[in-house]
């Protein structure tokens, strides 16, 4: 805390003793900017895939379909039997018959919009939603066989699961990239700070010679680097967010992909990147400076 307040308090004198610029400075700013830029994209990717995976997984998890195929005169009775059976099965939260229109819509891609659904002896579909504890699938199958012989339980995760798995993998990849980017940024800032320190060894020697305390010297370097990392990361973040906002919208892709951007409060998330980068830079530079000073003669 004392360190941070020392960092923020305006000490122009201490600032000036470190040469203002040079390539390590530019390197720090640029590295922070580039890495923040990449991080925003990785974040966008993993959030979009996360949303996608959640949506698919949520749509699947705990739902199942019961398909009732029976002669037309028995089908309504069996449907009623299934529904009342489900109502008394522990672990099932709700159940509903899928109305014919919905079924038509599901079949449309295969048969076109003009499918004469009433004329077809299609199975009836009942959708059920699992409760918190889950239900006993095998027990349910047996009871169904007894009470509604034409009913078949299909937990149909098979059908959309591949998509959920794929989305999950994309999210993983996004998070992995984020971790890599964070690690690489930290390492690069540390190395840049060390490079700057060794380029400035003569400066440090002069300062020690005229009676500067280590803390004075450390503060000057840390301030420089923290501010550079902060401004670089801020620039990179803003640029990347503009880039993300300019990416083609995903609306025409229907429900499959939710778009690679952020949603709602998600837009605020990238703004944690500059402070994190600054904190990393602060810690890295401080450590590097203290280590450098320890290594010098007194």
């Amino acid at each position: 805390m004392k360190l941070l307040s020392g960092l923020l308090s305006h000490d122009r004198q201490a600032d000036r003793v470190v040469p203002p610029s040079g390539f390590t400075a530019q390197l720090t700013v640029f590295t922070s900017a580039a890495m923040a830029f990449l991080a925003v994209f990785a974040l966008a990717l993993s959030m979009a895939s996360g949303r996608l995976a959640d949506r698919w997984a949520g749509a699947l998890a705990g739902t199942a379909t019961i398909r009732i195929s029976a002669p037309p005169d028995q089908i309504a009775a069996q449907e009623a039997a299934v529904l009342s059976l489900l109502a008394t099965t522990p672990g099932i939260r709700s159940s509903r018959a899928i109305p014919p229109e919905e079924q038509t819509k599901l079949l449309e891609p295969w048969f076109g919009p003009g499918l004469p659904i009433d004329a077809l002896p299609l199975p009836r579909l009942v959708e059920l939603t699992e409760g918190p504890g889950g239900y006993d699938g095998e027990g349910l199958r047996q009871r169904l066989a007894a009470e509604a012989p034409g009913a078949v339980l299909d937990d149909h995760t098979r059908w959309r699961r591949p998509l959920a798995v794929a989305a999950e993998r994309l999210r993983f990849l996004g998070l992995l990239s984020l971790a890599l980017i964070a690690g690489a940024t930290g390492a690069m800032i540390t190395l840049a700070a060390n490079a700057a320190l060794s380029a400035n060894l003569p400066v440090i020697r002069v300062l020690r010679l005229v009676g500067a305390k280590d803390s004075y010297i450390v503060r000057a370097f840390v301030r420089r680097f923290t501010l550079r990392a902060l401004s670089g990361a801020a620039a990179g973040t803003v640029l990347a967010m503009i880039g993300v906002a300019l990416l083609p919208r995903a609306d025409e892709a229907g429900g499959f992909l939710t778009g690679l951007g952020f949603q709602g409060l998600g837009w605020l998330l990238p703004f944690v990147l500059p402070p994190i980068t600054a904190i990393v830079a602060f810690a890295a530079t401080r450590l590097a400076a203290l280590r450098t000073l320890k290594g010098l003669t007194r």
Partner: protein, 223 residues
């Protein structure tokens, strides 16, 4: 102020200084001579705490150097003005800023009149805004001396401060040092310029130390 007691030093190889004992009393004026490579710079570095003796004790202002923290050493440096043999500056800051640096890092501000007068005395009056890399060799040495005395230190330690100066300018600086000594400052100067030592002897009472065969001797009549 500064005392050596049975000090020995080596850089990892053979012993460079052995059994050096020395007391710089307040207000004394010492010269240090010896052939090139005999250890003059090393002895000075021991005297302002940049090096720790391999054995024996160095005492700065009644504290032993070995027991000092890095911050203690920094505080001691504010009471000792040092002119390095290779004068180093902050190359990105103008001469005046460099000269007042000891005040800056101590959180004090400079007296502008004082600074102007000092720069004029060492012949740098017109170069206050020059950057150190554009100074000539002798100008750097004079700037380093100005930096060493700007904060009115109790001790002034200078390593070959006139190595790149013509005789006239050397005398001018000597006069300045003698003046400071008369004001009570303790002064220790390493030099190989015997003329300078002779000249000083004519003005104040000085003692001349010589490093010979790793020992510190008092040189006298042979100068």
């Amino acid at each position: 102020m500064i005392a050596f007691e049975g000090v020995a030093y080596n850089y990892g190889g053979g012993e460079l200084l052995s059994d050096v004992s020395l007391r710089l009393a307040p207000g004394s004026f010492h010269f240090l001579t010896g052939p090139s490579g005999s250890g003059k710079t090393t002895l000075l570095k021991l005297a302002y705490g940049e090096l720790l003796p391999t054995s024996g004790h160095v005492t700065l202002f009644d504290k032993t150097v070995r027991g000092m923290t890095r911050d203690d050493v920094a505080l001691c440096r504010r009471r000792i003005g040092v002119v390095h043999q290779d004068c180093q500056f902050l190359d990105h800051l103008p001469l005046t800023t460099n000269v007042v640096l000891p005040l800056t890092v101590a959180g004090r501000s400079a007296d502008a009149g004082n600074l102007t007068e000092l720069l004029k005395w060492v012949g740098l009056g017109s170069l206050g805004s020059a950057l150190p890399p554009s100074l000539s060799g002798g100008e750097r040495q004079r700037a380093a001396l100005a930096r060493a005395i700007i904060m009115d230190p109790e001790v002034i330690i200078a390593d070959e401060p006139t190595g790149n100066l013509d005789w006239e300018m050397s005398l001018r600086l000597l006069t300045l040092l003698v003046e400071l000594n008369r004001m009570g400052k303790t002064i220790l100067i390493a030099t190989h310029d015997l003329n300078l030592i002779r000249q000083a002897k004519a003005q104040v009472s000085t003692r001349v130390l010589r490093i010979k065969d790793r020992r510190l001797q008092l040189a006298g009549a042979d100068l």
